[in-house]
């Protein structure tokens, strides 16, 4: 099995199944914070998928998107936690 086929038929399906499993938690999540970490995990897995895709397509430009996504995931989680904590005071 060549490395390209291995990336296509093993690594990418594993990552896709991971995203689907996290989506179940995003829908079920009993509290808001559960949904926030599920969203954070989905974006983190998205960085991994973009990386594998850029390896397969040999397009190193796609890694720039991964940098931006990492930034957005961090800022989103920080903003969510800040406002959830503020909401408690009112």
């Amino acid at each position: 099995m060549s490395l390209e086929a291995y990336f296509d038929f093993v690594i990418l399906p594993i990552l896709t199944i991971s995203v689907l499993l996290v989506f179940i938690r995003l829908f079920k999540g009993p509290t808001v914070v559960d949904r926030v970490i599920a969203l954070d995990l989905i974006i983190t897995i998205g960085i991994g998928i973009i990386t594998v895709y850029s390896i397969r397509q040999e397009q190193d430009v796609l890694l720039d998107v991964a940098i931006i996504l990492a930034l957005i995931a961090f800022l989103g989680t920080i903003a969510f936690s800040y406002y959830i904590e503020k909401q408690q005071d009112d």
Partner: protein, 138 residues
């Protein structure tokens, strides 16, 4: 040889991401879910990015970008996890029924959102309320 290294690294990375997602689905409690998610997903994405850095040899920009993303993830994932866990504890997210010890119980000052080492300092109004109730009973 490089193919084998790439296959091993990407397999470990993808499997740790899969374990993180199974953990976030199956764990009984928010805090357990959080502790599974952050470490395993950071490890998995880091290994996949190392794969990308090995895959493009002689291209310095890819290596630099990969190291930058890994550094950023390792730097920011614990901070985000700490902040969301603190917010969850303040909003009263229930703990799992099998939790043995909760060392933060009563240690947070609800008004200043600071962590005190003395549980009496954390609730400044609790003592006054007790005093008032004593007066009322007298």
């Amino acid at each position: 040889m490089i193919d084998i290294i790439l296959a091993i690294l990407s397999t470990i990375g993808a499997l740790s991401i899969l374990f993180a997602s199974i953990g976030v689905l199956r764990m009984p409690d928010f805090y357990l879910r959080l502790s599974v998610t952050v470490k395993a997903s950071t490890l998995g994405v880091g290994l996949l990015l190392i794969c990308a850095a090995i895959m493009f040899p002689g291209d310095v920009s890819v290596t630099t970008k990969s190291i930058a993303i890994i550094f950023f993830l390792i730097l920011t994932a614990p901070i985000a996890a700490h902040m969301i866990a603190k917010a969850a504890y303040f909003t009263g997210t229930p703990l799992w029924k099998g939790t043995v010890v909760d060392e933060l119980k009563g240690m947070y000052n609800k008004e200043t959102h600071c962590l005190e080492s003395d549980p009496e300092k954390a609730q400044p109004h609790a003592k006054e309320n007790i005093a008032h109730s004593d007066d009322a009973t007298d």
